[in-house]
């Protein structure tokens, strides 16, 4: 009896080692500090989301690796243009990490426009600017925009100051910017709160989503 328990235990540990070993999930290698704006048209509909994403210094240096510039270590917007093109192509595969819902229904986003990088040479920080227009202008009582990497290779965090803005929104529209909090420290509370408000789509990284919530009358 004891022996069979021990054997079962052994078997369980063995399988756990195999399975559990790689079971845990991805971990970020890229950190993005972001600000997002919702752009409103004159008729009160939302036309798109404008992102400003600042990358961490290590990834910024990696990104500028091998780029030609007139001055060493300093990159102009034009010199960064090829990088912006590449980024738009590769980010497309990840839906630009931006997931929107209008009154609970998925709102489709189009190809990005007005995209460019700028570079802070002193802090070695690359910042990506781009706008994602909605396929159809959105008119909704409640608009949710979530920003996260489902694979959690990229860690997104709202900037401390003014992370979200509504540009040209009708009076009475209110927004809130929800952070995943310090997800890793307050993991328990986080997962609970997420079960209460299911995210736009699943995935491990969704737990670390930053969310813009806009309510209009």
């Amino acid at each position: 009896m004891i022996r069979s328990i021990r054997n079962t235990l052994g078997l369980a540990i063995m399988c756990l080692c195999i399975a559990g070993a790689d079971k845990s999930s991805a971990h970020p290698h890229v950190w993005v500090t972001m600000k997002s704006e919702l752009i409103y048209a004159a008729d009160g509909t939302v036309s798109g989301v404008r992102h400003t994403w600042a990358f961490d210094d290590a990834y910024s240096v990696f990104g500028t690796q091998g780029l030609k510039s007139k001055r060493r270590g300093v990159f102009t917007r034009e010199e960064l243009a090829p990088l912006a093109e590449v980024s738009m192509t590769s980010l497309k595969e990840y839906s630009f990490f931006t997931f929107a819902k209008a009154d609970g229904k998925k709102a489709q986003l189009k190809e990005p426009v007005d995209y460019y990088f700028d570079y802070d040479a002193r802090r070695t920080v690359l910042t990506l600017h781009f706008t994602l227009p909605f396929k159809a202008p959105v008119k909704a009582k409640q608009l949710d925009v979530e920003i996260y990497d489902a694979t959690y290779f990229v860690d997104f965090a709202f900037a401390e100051k003014d992370p979200v803005a509504l540009v040209g929104a009708p009076a009475g529209c209110k927004f809130s910017a929800l952070r995943p909090q310090d997800a890793s420290v307050q993991s328990q509370r986080l997962s609970e709160s997420f079960f209460n408000s299911p995210s736009a789509s699943g995935g491990w990284g969704a737990q670390f989503a930053n969310k813009i919530l806009v309510k209009c009358p």
Partner: protein
């Protein structure tokens, strides 16, 4: 050793096999689901609630991020103050330890490999060390050649890493398929003679001429100086095409003696050759963290500091992977005691476990290759 009566052994065996199958299956699914897989993740599929950040996993993440984010600052500091290098190495080591608890770094592949091949814990440790060091070496080589010498762009470097990665995945798949073939045949053989007691099976296998169905590719090896003394061949078995010879031994050894490390399993020139494919398969994929740190260090004119950091990271990774590898081997040994207690069906069950482990490796390779399971893919540039 005596046979247990068949009527008692059968339900036992069935139970065991069901447990094995279930655990392997579940583990595979969990792996795909949580390991950054696009299978369940992302916008493609699934509206279910996201999984929760487990306490331990969350803590691991926090630590890892904490260490990783110190790298750039420490590298900058090292530029002015040489002593900061030691802090950098310290943090690199810790990062490696925590980082390896995450996906990649071949823990699953190494563990499965150890189970399937009935390897010793020492070999597990060496496999872990060698693959970790190789991983660091590849990272240093990639950044050294691509960035420092050729000065290519990040995107080009990413493609290079992806290409290298794919070769590793192909190797993993090949190892899995090879093991499936070898172990599958042992399993079938064991199925045919389920009631043969241990010693008889071993004796029968060693003295008998090879089955007609066997691969005769290994024949010529008989003529070599290191001829087919099956004791010595333990170390050479399974993976290097020594056909039926190692086969015989494989069958004999698994049920005739216990799984304590034996000298002949550890030593010998050919002994390490066997693990080489596994080392390369696992170690080929450079770690994204190491590459980022290296590029950053290089930009600060401290390439060798970055290289040192990558190797210290590898040592940290090695500690974690080796711990898991040793645990796996110990667990397997404990399970195989059941097998020695019940020669007929027990050994069959062990063969089943080995086939299962081989299947896990194959599945890993295929899933990684097909992109259903993604390891740390560089995004953005």
């Amino acid at each position: 050793m005596t046979n247990s009566p068949e009527n008692r052994a059968t339900p036992q065996l069935l139970k065991l096999l069901i447990v094995i199958a279930a655990v392997l299956l579940v583990s595979g699914v969990i792996d795909q689901a949580s390991a950054q897989g696009s299978l369940f993740a992302g916008p493609r599929l699934g509206d279910g609630p996201p999984g929760s950040v487990g306490g331990i996993v969350g803590w691991l993440f926090a630590k890892q991020a904490e260490f990783y984010r110190q790298f750039s600052g420490l590298i900058r500091a090292a530029k002015a103050d040489g002593t900061a290098v030691w802090s950098l190495f310290g943090v690199s080591f810790l990062y490696g330890v925590f980082h390896a608890a995450g996906p990649g770094h071949g823990k699953a592949v190494i563990s499965s490999y150890l189970v399937a091949n009935d390897e010793t814990w020492r070999r597990g440790v060496v496999l872990s060390l060698a693959s970790a060091l190789l991983q660091a070496a590849v990272a240093v080589a990639v950044v050294g050649v691509a960035a420092a010498i050729l000065n290519v762009r990040a995107a080009t470097m990413n493609s290079a890493v992806n290409a290298i990665e794919s070769v590793g995945y192909v190797l993993i798949t090949l190892i899995g398929v090879r093991l499936l073939w070898v172990k599958g045949r042992s399993f079938i053989k064991a199925l045919r003679h389920p009631r043969l007691p241990v010693s008889e099976v071993g004796a029968a296998m060693t003295s008998k001429p090879p089955d007609p169905g066997h691969s005769h590719a290994g024949h010529s090896h008989h003529d070599h100086a290191e001829a087919c003394q099956c004791q010595d061949h333990t170390a050479l078995s399974h993976e290097d095409g020594h056909g039926h010879c190692d086969h015989d031994h494989d069958d004999a050894s698994a049920w005739s003696h216990a799984h304590a490390p034996e000298p002949e399993q550890l030593a010998g020139a050919g002994g390490w050759k066997r693990g080489l494919t596994a080392i390369v398969a696992v170690g080929l994929r450079p770690c994204s963290g190491a590459i980022l740190v290296l590029v950053f260090a290089m930009a600060q004119g401290l390439f060798w500091v970055g290289a040192g950091s990558a190797f210290v990271m590898a040592l940290g990774t090695f500690i974690t992977v080796a711990t898991i590898a040793v645990l796996t081997v110990v667990a397997r040994a404990s399970v195989s005691r059941l097998a020695t207690a019940r020669p007929g069906y027990g050994t069959l069950a062990m063969r089943g476990v080995e086939v299962g482990a081989a299947a896990v490796i194959t599945a890993f390779g295929v899933l990684l290759l097909s992109g259903y399971m993604v390891n740390e893919r560089m995004i953005g540039f």
